[in-house]
């Protein structure tokens, strides 16, 4: 059924290109092609509070602070070939993970670094209006790591009003890279032998997106994704408490999961200074989670280069079949979790941002060598969001983006 679904989706999307191409004698706009190296610096500060930590069985603090930064360097090797290197590092402190220090049985504070690296090589075919590329990446943190490979292909119609993009990737992840996974078990469950069947997790991802210009002010994108995961899908330091006993057990979930998100984006230039950016997502998986998400963003252009935007996210989901709260599970159940991220919940997020990108740059730094371009600070974006979940969890996040051209 999945294969048929993929074939049908591909056929219908590509059939849009079977139409007669519209005559269009205008010069194609290649202004988006980079001729200089672009460097983006991104920073964020995130803090959350809650009282349903899965590490302590659905009861206990979820306090977490995360500081992250990412650098994205896009180097045009030739006019049709570019390489993008993206490196991100984040540092988080989490009260709930105090008990998962693999080298200690004490409740020492646990500080964690996460590294992510992705390298993408893209080739543009200006004759066929297509683009293809491949991507390799890796993630590393003290209790989890992995590598991923992927590729994509996109094709625009002759009049550049439609585009299809196909993308696929495989991620090979492993828990506890440098020690046995049993070191990650909750303290009271250590020494009980193997509690999980594997320490690996594989994810296979296939996505298809179709972009269409509808009018001179309106464009949309339909996207669908199939994500198939196998291996250890539970977390080896999540506790679950049962009605029949006081001692916890390790969270247990099926070893296969199929996830299908479908999204529709619509962007509309409503008035001369007001834009409506919207997103709707339907999500379903075979754990029983079914979700609807809506995002609306309203950029208001104070000038052509300076805009302010408020935004609002709404999300609702049903609980996974295997979810119950603290001491609500029965020992007769095959699978069980008290992770409130998989609970029945409603969440909203409210925030705003400032975007500034003047044509003649925010600032420039001249180089000593005469034949070198000046370094130009092109973009500045600041964003703040407040997130609230019906389970009681709330969070604040501040993000910034600095864009430069070298």
């Amino acid at each position: 059924m999945r294969l048929q679904l993929i074939q049908l989706f591909s056929f219908l999307a590509l059939s849009a290109f079977a139409q007669q191409p519209q005559p269009d004698s205008e010069v194609k706009n290649d202004s988006k092609v980079l001729d200089r190296t672009q460097v983006d610096f991104l920073f964020s500060y995130y803090h959350q509070e809650g009282n349903n930590s899965a590490v302590t069985g659905g009861k206990g603090t979820e306090k977490l602070t995360d500081v992250a930064s990412t650098i994205i360097v896009n180097v045009p090797v030739r006019s049709t070939h570019s390489i993008q290197v993206e490196y991100g590092i984040s540092y988080y402190t989490s009260a709930s993970s105090d008990n998962i220090n693999p080298y200690s049985i004490s409740s020492a504070s646990s500080d964690n670094l996460v590294h992510k690296l992705d390298i993408t090589s893209s080739f543009k075919d200006t004759v066929n209006n297509s683009q293809r590329g491949f991507k390799v990446g890796a993630t590393h943190q003290n209790n989890f790591g992995g590598i991923r490979i992927g590729g994509f292909y996109s094709k625009e119609s002759e009049d550049r009003n439609r585009e299809v993009k196909i993308q696929g990737s495989i991620s090979l992840d492993k828990w506890a890279l440098y020690y046995p996974i049993s070191k990650l078990y909750p303290i009271e469950l250590k020494g009980q032998g193997d509690l999980v069947d594997t320490d690996k997790r594989y994810s296979y991802n296939f996505s298809l997106a179709y972009k269409q210009i509808l009018t001179t002010r309106l464009q949309m994108q339909l996207a669908g994704e199939l994500i198939y995961q196998t291996g250890l899908l539970s977390t080896p330091f999540h506790r679950v408490y049962f009605t029949e006993q006081d001692a916890p057990k390790l969270e247990k979930l099926p070893s296969h999961k199929l996830r299908i998100p479908l999204t529709l984006r619509l962007n509309y230039f409503l008035l001369d200074r007001l834009i409506v950016r919207s997103l709707y997502r339907f999500y379903v998986d075979d754990f029983g989670v079914r979700a609807h998400s809506i995002n609306i963003e309203l950029p208001f252009k104070i000038t052509n280069f300076f805009s302010l935007y408020p935004f609002y996210n709404f999300h609702t989901q049903t609980a996974a079949n295997y979810f119950k709260g603290y001491k609500e599970h029965n020992l007769s159940e095959k699978y069980y979790t008290s992770d409130y991220d998989l609970s029945n919940l409603i969440s909203y997020e409210l925030g705003g941002g400032v975007y500034y990108a003047p044509v003649y740059n925010i600032a420039t730094i001249k180089r000593r060598k005469k034949n070198r371009h000046a370094i130009a600070w092109k973009k500045l974006e600041l964003r703040y969001a407040y997130y609230k979940r019906s389970t009681g969890l709330y969070a604040n996040i501040v993000s910034t983006h600095f864009g430069f051209i070298f």
């Binding site: 679904l5 849009a16 993630t139 009049d159 509808l214 996830r259 999500y283 996974a320 964003r383």
Partner: protein, 73 residues
């Protein structure tokens, strides 16, 4: 899962319908080429997307590399 398949089919059937829309020429794309009109996530929102994928059971659909990582922080 049947509902998901129905939703997927309804969704993809929209594609050929929408593809019949009028052709917009390059000189008519002043609004569409505006930076704020670009389809896709803002770069600055990438961190929020990460945390949404951890704090909610739903992920993906935004044409990224979803589905990997532990999300265990």
């Amino acid at each position: 899962m049947k509902k998901a398949i129905h939703a997927t089919l309804s969704f993809v059937l929209l594609v050929p319908v929408i593809a019949g829309c009028v052709s917009v020429r390059e000189y008519q794309k002043a609004y569409l080429n505006d930076e704020e009109m670009q389809l896709g996530e803002r770069k600055v929102a990438v961190f929020e997307a990460d945390f949404h994928s951890y704090r909610e059971g739903a992920v993906g659909g935004t044409i990224g590399n979803s589905g990997s990582g532990c999300g265990c922080n």
